[in-house]
């Protein structure tokens, strides 16, 4: 049976991980490569690196980072943040990333998804969606772009379904309402998107308790959970999460 994935997310700026990291025995807590390797040893199923500066200048450093991670970490990893063209996707895949996530640029130019998928296949194109509950209609979620700063008219569930048709192989779904709150993933949003698509959905935003992970994987029908601070600050290890999921009859790789 396919296992549910547990994915730490590393925010990267100028080749350094910027959120706090509390691994013991780490020579350099800010080095994305060393951290990635540490998470891999700890049993992470996959890694996500997000370039949070995403400027043209930082693009060069992210390519170098991808090359270094690929030389040292032998589990799959996704890279994202400010990727605008199929050429950039191509370059990052060639540099050793398994998957590339696109967000704002895909909203502005949905053809980007198709162009990127045509070359190396759907499985390497991740559509990242930042969604928040609509104020006017609480049964819906709207897509926000530019790191969540700009709301659009797109409905998150409809956008996910359309992206699948365009060639996306996976949805990385972040609830902006939940993000950073540690109040738990948005189970309702995740389930709505997971029901609307046939591709895997990674739940993100709001990871706090182990129970919230169980809920979003069960009731939310997510295929994977992504978390940042609970891992970086050492509240839970990957092993803690997987043991708890297994106790709750969720298949995990251990």
């Amino acid at each position: 049976m396919l296992t549910k994935r547990v994915i730490p997310c590393l925010d990267v700026k100028d080749n350094r991980v910027v959120k706090g990291v509390s691994f013991v025995n780490l020579r350099d807590a800010g080095d994305p490569v060393e951290l990635g390797a540490q998470y891999s040893r700890a049993g992470a199923d996959e890694l996500v690196f997000l370039d949070i500066t995403a400027t043209i200048r930082s693009r060069k450093t992210i390519v170098e980072l991808v090359e270094r991670v690929a030389e040292n970490v032998f589990i799959p990893f996704t890279v994202g943040g400010g990727i605008r063209t199929a050429g950039e996707v191509d370059l990052l895949l060639r540099s050793g990333a398994e998957k590339v996530s696109v967000n704002t640029a895909a909203v502005q130019n949905p053809r980007l998804i198709t162009k990127a998928a045509e070359r190396f296949g759907n499985q390497c194109v991740v559509l990242a969606i930042d969604a928040r509950r609509c104020e006017k209609d609480e049964s819906r979620w709207q897509v926000c772009i530019k790191s969540g700063s700009e709301p659009t008219d797109l409905d998150a569930v409809e956008w996910a379904a359309r992206a699948e048709k365009l060639g996306a192989g996976e949805i990385l779904l972040t609830s902006m309402d939940a993000d950073g709150t540690k109040a738990g993933y948005d189970v309702e949003l995740t389930a709505a998107v997971a029901d609307a698509v046939n591709i895997p959905v990674i739940a993100s935003g709001g990871a706090g308790s182990l129970d919230s992970m169980v809920h979003v994987l069960k009731e939310g029908k997510a295929d994977a959970v992504l978390a940042a601070s609970i891992f970086h600050y050492g509240e839970y290890t990957i092993k803690d999460v997987k043991d708890y999921l297994a106790e709750n009859h969720i298949p995990v790789r251990r």
Binding site: E71, E98, C124, E170
Partner: protein, 202 residues
């Protein structure tokens, strides 16, 4: 020396990185002379079947001749699918035809791609998995799969709502649908075993 076939598809670099990590002497090339010299060949591949076959071009015949003459070959992901007779991914395409059977879509009703870590149970006699126990998790990412139809093939399966063939062996020909280069320590051990098999053969 293990030769990784260089033919303009994804994951070539990841395979080379993993081989370098385990200290394996590796070359990335598609030169006929290098194919002859190699102790074993790896055919990687992250791409659509038809595209991968067209990128192989005349190298396909060289690989086939070398393998029929006894050269050890490992196909990974689409490289594994290319070992079979044909695929219906975006039209009908001929494969290398080294193993009987064809490539078909994962049945409807299941999430596609089949993406993530799944458990593969090995029959005891499969050499690629020597020392790995009787089962292990590997990383998969694919929408099509190869179904062998060849009495001389050993197959190990994974469970994805149906019995999905995860790896095959037919004499000197090995194929893995999963990505050993991205399956952590278990995957590196598969590559170590492959190197050992090549050294013995070479």
């Amino acid at each position: 020396m293990i030769l990784v076939i260089d033919y303009n598809v994804g994951n070539v670099k990841s395979v080379c990185n993993a081989l370098a990590h385990i200290g394996c002497e590796t070359e990335l090339s598609s030169e006929p002379e290098r194919i002859k010299e190699a102790d074993g060949i790896i055919l990687p591949g992250v791409a659509a079947f038809g595209y991968a076959m067209s990128q192989l071009g005349p190298i396909a015949r060289l690989i086939k001749e070398a393998v029929v003459a006894g050269k050890v070959l490992l196909g990974i992901c689409v490289g594994h699918q290319l070992l079979f007779e044909q695929s219906c991914e975006h039209g009908q395409h001929e494969g290398l035809g080294l193993i009987g059977g064809n490539v078909r879509p994962i049945p409807s009703g299941l999430r596609v791609p089949h993406m993530g870590w799944n458990l593969v149970k090995f029959p005891a006699e499969m050499k690629l998995f020597e020392g790995l126990g009787d089962k292990e998790f590997f990383y998969f990412a694919h929408s099509y799969y190869a179904k062998p139809d060849d009495s001389r093939v050993q197959v190990a399966y994974t469970d994805y709502g149906f019995r999905l063939p995860a790896t095959v062996q037919k004499g000197n020909i090995y194929g893995v649908q999963f990505h050993p280069e991205k399956s952590g320590e278990a995957g590196l051990n598969v590559l170590r075993n492959f190197e050992r098999i090549c050294r013995k053969a070479g």
